[in-house]
């Protein structure tokens, strides 16, 4: 599934990153095998706030669409 479909307060394992910006997204710590938790969504649904490697990161829809995850 994609991170954009992920549910708040759920933890996910990052499977794969796609798209042109994959290096940029991975450099922020979202590498395959890392664990992220969806913390909340902003008032209009996006950006989405996640916790990754112990810090808080927000992503817009386009970026969450590039991240494939599976629930754990």
């Amino acid at each position: 599934m994609l991170l954009s479909d992920a549910r708040v307060q759920q933890k996910y394992e990052v499977k794969q990153i796609q798209g042109d910006e994959l290096v940029r997204i991975m450099e922020m710590g979202l590498t395959p095998g890392s664990i992220c938790e969806v913390i909340r969504r902003a008032p209009m649904g996006y950006p989405m706030e996640i916790k990754i490697r112990g810090y808080l990161l927000s992503l817009r829809k386009k970026e969450t669409d590039a991240v494939e995850v599976s629930p754990i």
Partner: protein, 725 residues
Amino acid sequence: MSNQIITVQKELLRQPSTIALVGNPNTGKSTIFNALTGLRQKIANYPGITVERKMGTTIINGVLHKIIDLPGAYSLNHKKADERITYETLIGSYDHEEKPDLLLMVVDASNLERNLFLASQVMDLQIPMLMVLTMSDIADERGIRIQSKQLSAVWGVPVISINARSKQCDVQIKQALVEQGVATPKPFQWNPSKPLRQAVERLDMEWLSKYTQLPARARPIEALRLLAEGSLEDSFYSYSEEGKAKKLIDELQNTLEAQGENPTAAEVVQRYRFIGDSSEGSVTKEQKNEQTWTDRLDNVLTHRVAGPVIFVLVLLVMFQSIFSWATPFMDMIDMLFIEFGAFVGSSLPAGLLNSLLVDGIIAGLGGVVIFLPQIIFLFLFIYFLEGTGYMARAAFVMDGFMTKVGLHGRSVVPLMSGFACAIPGIMATRTIENWRDRLITIMILPFMACSARLPVYAVMIAAFVPDKRVIGFLTLQGLVFFGLYLFGIVMAVGSAAVMKRIFPTGKPTPFLMELPPYKWPNVSSVVIQSLERGKIFVTEAGKIIVAISIILWVLASFPTYEPTASDLADMDTNGQMSEQMLSTLQLNKSYAGTFGQWIEPAIEPLGFDWKIGIGLLTSFAAREVMVGTLNTIYSIEETEEQLGLIERLRSEIDPETGLPKYTLATALSLMIFFAIAMQCMSTLAIVKRETNSWKWPLVMFGYMTVLAYLSAWITFEWANTFLLG
């Protein structure tokens, strides 16, 4: 993990050296820079781009060293202009920056893994460094303990832990530099896989070392970038044999894939893997399930409903305070310059030089200094809120709304500041990382109805809008006033939507915004940064503003007017002329007056005559000057309520038709023109500074003037047909 023997170098600090601060954004890097340099800093744009170069000096053991605060970066893969400067400077191939002799590698202890990612890249460049751990109190709160000694052993560089918010942080760093020294890290400590290492070696040997001028220590990391990128795009150095490089990169990428490695991802994945593995010995994590301060605050401040409401309240408090704090200072500055001008004017013999000094230079300087209170107060708020971590939350909460109109979550604060004055607002757009979002925000910001438009609106509304009650306490005058504000906002949103379509996208930069933990900011750093903003405005925009002031003075003062016999006869003043009449005639006969008459045919469709034409030119100094100019043109003594001017405007008769010259249609047209036109040289000067080019202020002036002209024309025609017809 293999423990290393660190070869410490202390002799580097015995002679003047260049020390660079490197690190992720939000690590306390700027705070350390401010603590080390104080007000001994120089901030200017790098040539040709909008990234700021922050340079300062500090004294360590009696030796003066240069400190460079390199732009915060998440990676050395230099996709963005600021990261590119950091990268180019570190490898010593950036023409506009000195090659640093040693580095302070700033690492956020509460966010160790992602910070070590950049650190591991920087270490590959083998520059002597000291690793500075910040935010260990926040790490503590989360149950993270970092063994500096272990970390130092893993990476082979000295490590110190400091509290960047304490006043003593510069002392701690200087002491560490003297006592622990710096060490040159070994490259490739992150254990790249054999296939990746081989690919890097081949690219280095077979192309980079032969066909580029890159120093040996920079070539492996450049090889990694090329292997991930797969092309020579973004390569800033000169090279030859491009075909050879492309063929080799293709071949190496294929080999990597055949060996089961993803060439694009390999470097990032392997660095993070090593960082994760190596921190097992140096980091202990207690499992703490209780909520941290950040979690608790975020539950409220980024709440779906409460979040936006709180943000609006924060804005309200912020602008109310700026307004009430800045106003007395502005009045004082205004008074000081008027008094000073009057003093100079009366102590020097009357004449051109006197007028140049008083009306040109002193008035121009006053026009620069008057902006300082608003700029400094706005930035005190912004840097404070940025330092607490709240600004990122505000952007997070507002981003959804703002992207709908083509802007960015971080556009809100600058745009709101525009209601006070566009200048601090435009300076505040620097918090928007994405250049295109930032540019669009700058380009629409002057549509926000700033306080300098108020006097013009007030006179026109009082003179021509009937004081009628509409519904309840709402009057027609109040509604027109509100409508003008709304009109500015609508124009801003509309223009943003159009610009979003036509401005070149360039390389899209993804939105990956960090929400740093809440913390109490270092107050002296907040103050230093705000004062620096004021200094930048005065030194960089100020000279343009003074220069234009002098040009405007020339236009209004030349050719110098001497009353002729026929003028005196016309005036029927028995050969005596009041000073007011003299200045009226001086203005009317000057270049500015000629300009007004020359432009009259062009502005006639808007309902303006040559007198307003003069005002359009002179109010370029500042919008409110329009009122003063009209007073001069009509020889009316300026009063607080402008009653004389209002009366005079109402009673002006068109000599051809015998009807009133100015009507409601003229007033509406003029106000609409003022709502949109770029009638402010100071705004153009700061846009030049912030975009580092004359192109954008010229585009801004052009498109706003065209829009203003068309809107005023439509308004005039519409009002004549439907309101007066």
